[in-house]
Amino acid sequence: MTLPQIALGAFLALLATFLFSGKRRGFLLFTFSLLALFALQPALPIRYFDFWLPTLALGLVMGLWAGITPLETVLSKENLLSAAWAATLLLLLGLTRIIFPNPFLTASLAPRMQYIFLALVILALGIFLSSRVRAPRQMAQAGTLALVLLLIVLKSPQLSLWSAQLLRVLNGQSAETASSFDLRWLGFSYIAFRLIHTLQDHIKGRLPSVSLQEYITYLFFYPALSAGPIDRVERFVKDLRAPFHLAEIDWVFITRRMTLGLFKKFILADSLALIALSPANAAQVTRAPWAWILLYAYALQIYFDFSGYTDLALGVARLAGIQLPENFNQPYLKPNLTQFWNSWHMSLTQWLRAYVFNPLTRALRGTSLPVWSIILLTQLVSMTLIGLWHGVTLNFLIWGLWHGLGLFLHNRWQDAFRVRVTAWAGTPARQALLAVSGAVFTFQYVALGWIWFVLPTPQTALAFLFRLFGAA
């Protein structure tokens, strides 16, 4: 997000609180979030896809909501009005093509109105059919599967290239210039994980009753659209429903987080980005000490970038009375890898713990597998999934395995030596030494892991790894 976009986002959140303290604030946030879904989507080389992808996201969300919501609720006046307003916004976005000579609120010109009408008809039909399928549990399972498959296609370079080629051909464009970056769908990773959370909670009977307007606002909430955090729907809706007045705004929190966020993102991260490890400079660096500097610069850059965005998201959301969950808690100062992962992208790790790690652990406990192998398996599976969430490539897989293995080793180390280490660390000085050395070791381990994250192939990553130790 750019500085003007952040300023506009903060202004709109403040405006919503300034104008309305109750339900209408929710309506404004719903409207702003829907418009932001289109406005923040970057331009795509496949014609009109920067309009159709957000539309598809909206269709998916509305369809899945209709599938897991009782029919009488779907057909309530409030929800029908929300659906009608969403459709109206889509049509208004389409009208910008006629009113403005240049793209307005969309990255490129919106499609012709007749196509938007057609899309709305298909959307309405989809929602209607979805609401008529009276098997919400199966609907939720099928929805989860579809989302996972969609994520795999989008995150896999080859599959997304093939998809781009196919879509280009269907769109009457040349497939020769297709690229795996043609389908950059802003925020879809987060939208998908939020959707899976609601679908899985629905299956378990834990999903609270939410209106269409609340559901859409939760999924597309604009401060958290592009970089999270992944909130929980019941917590989000509680804030959204609670009356919130201008006088309740926590200015100290907002000023601190937004100043910090701007400083982290636009001063620290953007500066470090100039010297951070990249596929281009990895092969150019001549000596090991410089390779370490580049690697550390990347480790710090990714932290300041991501946590800076989180600070901004939390600050903007708070202006509208929404308390998004924290995502970072000084991860690089943690004394071990387990605590690092409890402090890094916390909302993602909590999501994964809830929907992968814990269910898998419970399932494996019923088998005859030894405890250590259950720990190894669950850690590897969880971290591998986090890796693949970033992209279905060999290097992201290795990055996930690196961390899964690290977590397993830390678990075993702790199990074997905790008593002895605790006994040894009897004095404050020894405790401090333990904490500092642990933090240094953990940072080092995480930094070495970033090599697999930032470089595109195992060959380039290995070559850089050797260079770090003076072997290349």
Binding site: T255, L274, Q284, I293
Partner: protein, 366 residues
């Protein structure tokens, strides 16, 4: 008890602080903090210049202070060093040449010594062709205790009409005003081509681009030190033009015959006259085409009528002024040029270095 927070007061205080800094900035000394020439980052072997900073780890900026602070010439001069500075355009800077292939690097490879001191050649070329830009750098370079200056020029440096519009010149109007006065130059200090300094441009907001550029130059210094890369080397590039349209004999829309009054020879003369060190003036090599209509043009830059007249004029001026002058205009065949009529191959740079070395006439003090 914790004091209540008043956002409006905080905003006003912040604004007041910003205004204070912004207003005081014009009175602050120029920012010359540099990470270059420190144990962390060595000085660059050529002045910062680059249009693709993210790939070249180098960037163009307008602050001569920052540019020279990033250059190795800023290091203190060893007692046994005979310091030779090379002034010129992109051919001296070394477009498409690695640092070790440039003219100054080739001169250093010759291991020469003058006046009992070992000669060290510094590349102060800068990739825009303008004699006033050269003088701007020449004038600044005289602060770095030169023992000798080699100034390479070509006809394209001289047309009067282009002198003030070169970006480095246009964006250094206070320095150019000073040059006009001290060197008695034939330019209007109020020429609209010169970007004026206003109270607004002096504020923190007005200086934001310059400050950001200086900051980025320091960061890119780390990557320059880490990789040794300071420009993008394309795998292939178009060869210089050798075929020309019939009748294409224009040179900056100047009428034939070439009048001395249309060229900025005065900048060169006054510069050399005020030089603290002996100067060798070199008319640099150009591509002499043998292609279509090469009887009209030597190359993309020059019609024959203009270039021939220029050579006669410069040679006469050098003779009249008693300058040490080397004319190597046709030293190399077309195959020794890379992507332009003035950019040489590494092999040609080696030969040119040898030619130049023979022409240096040091004036040794007792």
């Amino acid at each position: 008890m914790e004091k209540p927070f008043h956002p409006l007061r905080a905003l006003l205080k912040g604004l007041a602080l910003y205004l204070l800094i912004a207003l005081l900035l014009p009175f602050a000394p120029p920012l010359t903090l540099s990470l270059y020439n420190t144990p962390l980052i060595p000085g660059r072997s050529r002045l910062p210049y680059g249009e693709s900073p993210a790939q070249a780890y180098n960037l163009s900026l307008f602050s001569l202070d920052a540019m020279f602070a990033a250059h190795e010439v800023s290091q203190s001069k060893p007692a046994d060093e005979y310091r030779v500075l090379l002034i010129g355009d992109s051919s001296v800077w070394g477009l498409l040449l690695k640092p070790e292939e440039t003219l100054s690097a080739q001169l250093n490879l010759q291991d020469s010594s003058f006046c009992g001191k070992s000669a060290r050649f510094y590349n102060l070329g800068y990739p825009t062709i303008s004699i006033l830009k050269d003088l701007l750098i020449f004038d600044r370079a005289t602060r770095y205790q030169p023992d000798y200056i080699i100034w390479l020029t070509t006809l394209e440096s001289y047309p009067l009409e282009k002198q003030l519009s070169v970006p480095l010149v246009a964006n250094n109007s206070p320095l150019v005003h000073d040059l006009i006065q001290r060197y008695d130059l034939p330019f209007d200090p109020h020429d609209p081509a010169l970007v004026p300094v206003t109270p607004w441009s002096q504020t923190l907001f007005g200086q934001r681009r310059a400050l950001a550029d200086q900051f980025r130059l320091q960061l890119y210094g780390l990557l320059w030190a880490a990789t040794g890369i300071d420009q993008v080397y394309p795998a292939s590039y178009p060869a210089p033009q050798t075929d020309f349209e019939a009748g294409d004999d224009q040179f900056h829309h100047l009428p034939a015959p070439l009048a001395e009054s249309d060229l900025a020879y005065e900048v060169l003369s006054n510069g050399i006259a005020r030089s603290p060190a002996p100067v060798l003036l070199v008319n640099e090599p150009i591509l002499v085409s043998t292609g279509q209509n090469s009887d009209i043009r030597y190359n993309f830059f020059y019609p024959r009528w203009a270039y021939d007249a220029y050579r006669v004029q410069l040679s006469a001026l050098a003779k009249r002024s008693g300058w040490n002058y080397l004319d190597v205009w046709n030293l190399f065949p077309a195959s020794e040029f890379t992507n332009s009529g003035v950019h040489l191959t590494p092999a040609a740079e080696t030969l040119l270095a040898r030619q130049i070395l023979q022409q240096i006439q040091p004036q040794c003090s007792e």
